[in-house]
């Protein structure tokens, strides 16, 4: 289990517990469940990299305690 912190810098900061072999889409769904937004509206970014839904967190080398930028469509 890893914990990832997602911050949109507009007032929402979410600490999400997830597995490393979860996909980015799964992570988005977890975030959506905790924040109450549509998961399809969520965009996860690290600098200019937009994480794609079907790729796992391990593949993106997202480790425990990392910060991910949270945007909305």
């Amino acid at each position: 289990m890893i914990e990832v912190v997602c911050n949109d810098r507009l007032g929402k900061k979410v600490r999400v517990k997830c597995n490393g072999d979860d996909t980015v889409g799964d992570l988005k769904k977890l975030i959506a469940a905790q924040t109450g937004t549509n998961w399809e509206k969520i965009v996860l970014k690290k600098w200019y990299n937009i994480y794609k839904d079907h790729i796992t967190l391990d593949d993106y080398e997202i480790h425990d305690g990392m910060n991910i930028e949270l945007y909305y469509n």
């Binding site: 289990m1 912190v5 929402k12 600490r15 597995n19 979860d22 799964d26 977890l30 469940a33 905790q34």
Partner: protein, 773 residues
């Protein structure tokens, strides 16, 4: 700002809802742990493997060692020696080594003995001629003189050559000599001129020359073809009849001259047996075709050669001291253009003179001499300075006049002028040559001479006399002309009988013959100059020719000299040629100094009119550009030409409208010697008109000119152009209407051919006549 977070349970609940597997909670079984485990296991395995390997190698080593030891089992070197080391070992060893030495020496001795034996065997075989048989000698038998000793050696040759030809014996000196000969021959060939004009080479060498054979060099000695084989049966047999010794004795015996001779004869022997059944062939066989016949050389014409000789003699001044008529160089007199004719004439003349010369015998010479002396005496006797009139002089005078008459018959001006000039030139030259003989000849005429040379002399005399006569005539003419200009208007007619000059003068006076314009005279002069120049050029050329002939003869003389080598001759010839050419060029240049060509360009158009420069240029331009002037321009030019022509053809005695002839006709018609042109103010025509009218009308009308009864009235004569006004009406109607006088009369006079009154025309055309009387 607070972080939203969910606990693990919450998250797991959520995940369940989302259909995801629950979170892996518990110890961290991360990849690193696994990796560590893996590493550890791997290392263990490796260590184990290494241990096994070590044991294996150890076992192998021990096994190897054991095997090696097995090989080394037994006695070693040291061990062996150690075993023999006791007592007589040294003696044994020495004995053993001694034996070995002995054996070796024995083997060497045996070998040497064998070799010596072989040598002895070889030396025992006798060396004689038979061992040389079959060897080839590279020289001809004739190269070895009798009693001469020569050392023959094997010829240098490559392996291939050796295999091909076998060994060959040569003598170095002989070979050297052969090579030298060949080189000399080559050198000679090179020095020889390429074309000698003879085919001596063919006869010398017996074969036809190749193309550019002078560059063919025979390299080296061609051995083999003239060699012989020592001890060959055939050869020895052949030589046996001539010489009793065998060929192997060639060191001692050579061939005598007789033998050589015989051999040579045999070589050129001809087989006299022939095939009697041989059929005649239609065609040449190859051998027959190759036979070529030498063309016999053309004999030079002796006649021309003789003539040349004669010329040369003449020119060299080595004549006989004979009373030969003075040689007049024909080229000097040759002014006429027709060269062929002149050439033939010259040959004829030369033949004649030659004949005469040939016939001169000593007696005749003596006779001639006597005659000439007698002549001299007569001459001396004759009174000097006086005029001698004899038959001969009369005859000569007649001759000249008749000749002059013939000359007057000659037609055109230009040719006339040219001829006169040419004759003048001729006479000038002829006079110099024949001048001395002239006087004497005229007097000699009286004496009878049947000399053969007389013929020739007479000819020259005739020529010169004619020339002189002309001279005299010309002078006369000149004087006469002069007198004619100075004397009064009425001149005496020059008498034709007095000569050509007077005839000329007469003709000129009468206008039959006019002297040429100054321009023509100039041209004639130039032409005469040109003729003279040509003659001079010819003379010079003849001289050059003569010199060339002489030079050639001298060259020939020189070339006959034996010390005079070919090279020298070539050089000299070249030099001579250069010199000659230079001289020729100089001559040409000198000739051209006076060269003044007589050029006159004249252009004539299609109609035969002479064109001036501008017109000629236009014509050429038109021809070049392929176009001509337009219609208008051409017409204009034509009109101009026509006008000119008309002007030229217009008679100078009449006006263009032929008034004079008209007047003359009138005079004839009137039968009077005069013509009245006008009376007072009236034209005379009026009267005529009246007369005409009277005839027509049958009435007489009097016209008092200036009569007192009438007031002077102005009258106007009008010629009505009837053809213009009314074609029907009277042609050439002349009406003279008088403006009526106020009180008394009105006279209107008219001329009418047709008596019908004109209708609806002007008053001037209606003809009325009123007469009070």
């Amino acid at each position: 700002m607070s972080e939203i977070s969910a606990s693990i349970a919450e998250t797991n609940a959520l995940r369940e809802k989302l259909g995801l597997k629950p979170l892996k909670v518990g110890p961290e079984t991360s990849g690193a742990q696994v990796a560590e485990d893996n590493l550890k296991r791997q290392r263990d395995e490796e260590a184990k493997k290494a241990r096994e390997e070590a044991i294996k190698t150890k076992i192998a080593k021990s096994r190897n060692k054991r095997e090696l030891n097995k090989v080394l089992a037994g006695k070693g070197l040291g061990e062996a020696s150690d075993e023999d080391d006791d007592g007589d070992d040294v003696y044994k060893w020495t004995m053993k080594s001694r034996n070995k030495e002995k054996e070796r020496q024995a083997a060497a001795a045996a070998k040497r003995e064998k070799e010596l034996q072989e040598l002895d065997d070889a030396s025992l075989v006798e060396y004689d001629e038979s061992q040389l048989s079959g060897l080839r000698v590279g020289h001809d038998m004739s190269d070895f003189a009798e009693g001469e000793e020569r050392i023959l050696t094997l010829k240098d040759s490559t392996i291939l050559e050796n295999e091909e030809e076998g060994d060959e014996l040569i003598n170095i000196q002989l070979a050297e000599k052969q090579r030298l000969d060949k080189n000399l021959e080559n050198k000679k060939k090179k020095n020889r001129p390429v074309y000698s004009g003879y085919d001596d080479d063919e006869f010398d060498s017996g074969k036809k020359k190749n193309l550019l054979s002078q560059y063919d060099e025979e390299l080296g000695i061609e051995s083999g073809h003239d060699g012989f084989v020592l001890g060959s049966a055939k050869r020895t047999q052949r030589l046996a009849d001539g010489q009793n010794g065998s060929v192997a004795q060639q060191g001692g015996g050579g061939l005598s001259a007789k033998e050589i001779m015989e051999q040579k004869l045999k070589k050129s022997a001809i087989d006299l047996t022939y095939n009697k059944t041989q059929q005649a062939q239609d065609y040449y066989t190859k051998d027959e075709a190759e036979i070529t016949f030498k063309k016999p050389k053309k004999k030079k014409k002796s006649r021309s050669r003789k003539a040349e000789n004669w010329d040369e003699e003449n020119q060299d001044g080595e004549e006989m001291e004979v009373d030969r008529p003075e040689q007049v160089d024909i080229s000097e007199l040759n002014f006429v253009d027709d060269e062929d004719l002149q050439a033939s004439l010259a040959t004829a003349r030369r033949a004649a003179t030659k004949k005469s010369i040939k016939k001169l015998t000593p007696e005749q010479i003596a006779k001639n001499l006597a005659e000439s002396q007698a002549m001299q005496m007569e001459e001396d006797d004759a009174p000097k300075g006086g005029l001698v009139i004899s038959d001969v002089s009369e005859f000569v005078a007649n001759l000249s006049s008749s000749a002059a008459e013939v000359h007057t018959g000659r037609p055109t001006l230009a040719t006339r002028a040219r001829e006169v000039s040419a004759e003048a030139a001729e006479s000038a030259t002829a006079a110099t040559t024949a001048g001395e003989s002239m006087k004497e000849d005229t007097e000699m005429e009286g004496a009878k001479e049947d000399d053969e040379a007389e013929d020739y002399r007479a000819r020259t005399r005739a020529e010169s006399e004619e020339a002189e006569a002309q001279d005299v005539a010309m002078k006369e003419a000149a004087t006469e002309e002069h007198s004619a200009t100075t004397e009064s208007v009425l001149v005496d007619e020059p008498l034709v009988s007095r000569g050509l000059g007077s005839t000329l003068a007469l003709l000129k006076q009468q206008g039959v013959y006019e002297m040429g314009t100054p321009e023509q005279a100039e041209r004639a002069k130039i032409q005469s100059e040109r003729a003279r120049w040509l003659a001079e050029a010819r003379l010079r050329e003849a001289k050059l020719q003569r010199e060339m002939v002489r030079d050639k003869a001298r060259d020939k003389e020189k070339s006959r000299d034996k010390n005079y080598s070919i090279r020298d001759r070539e050089k000299d010839r070249e030099y001579e040629n250069q010199r000659r050419e230079q001289r020729l060029l100089d001559e040409r240049e000198a000739q051209m100094k006076n060269y003044k060509p007589d050029v006159k360009l004249e252009y004539i158009d299609d109609a035969g009119n002479r064109l001036n420069t501008k017109e000629a240029f236009r014509q050429m331009s038109h021809a070049f550009h392929g176009k001509t002037s337009g219609k208008m321009k051409t017409e204009k030019r034509q009109k101009k030409l026509d006008d000119e022509k008309r002007l030229m053809s217009m008679s100078s005695t009449d006006t263009p409208l032929n008034m004079v002839s008209a007047f003359q006709e009138r005079q004839k018609a009137a039968g009077s010697a005069h013509i009245v042109l006008a009376v007072g103010n009236r034209k005379y025509v009026d009267i005529e008109v009246f007369a005409y009218e009277d005839k027509l009308e049958g009435t007489t009308s009097t016209l008092g000119s200036g009569s007192g009864s009438r007031t002077p009235s102005t009258s106007s004569a009008k010629v009505a152009p009837s053809s213009f006004a009314a074609p029907n009406q009277a042609q050439a109607t002349m009406s003279i209407s008088g403006v009526h006088a106020p009180n008394r009369e009105k006279v209107t006079v008219g001329l009418k051919r047709k008596a019908e009154p004109a209708q609806g025309t002007s008053t001037e055309e209606s003809v009325t006549k009123k007469s009070r009387n």
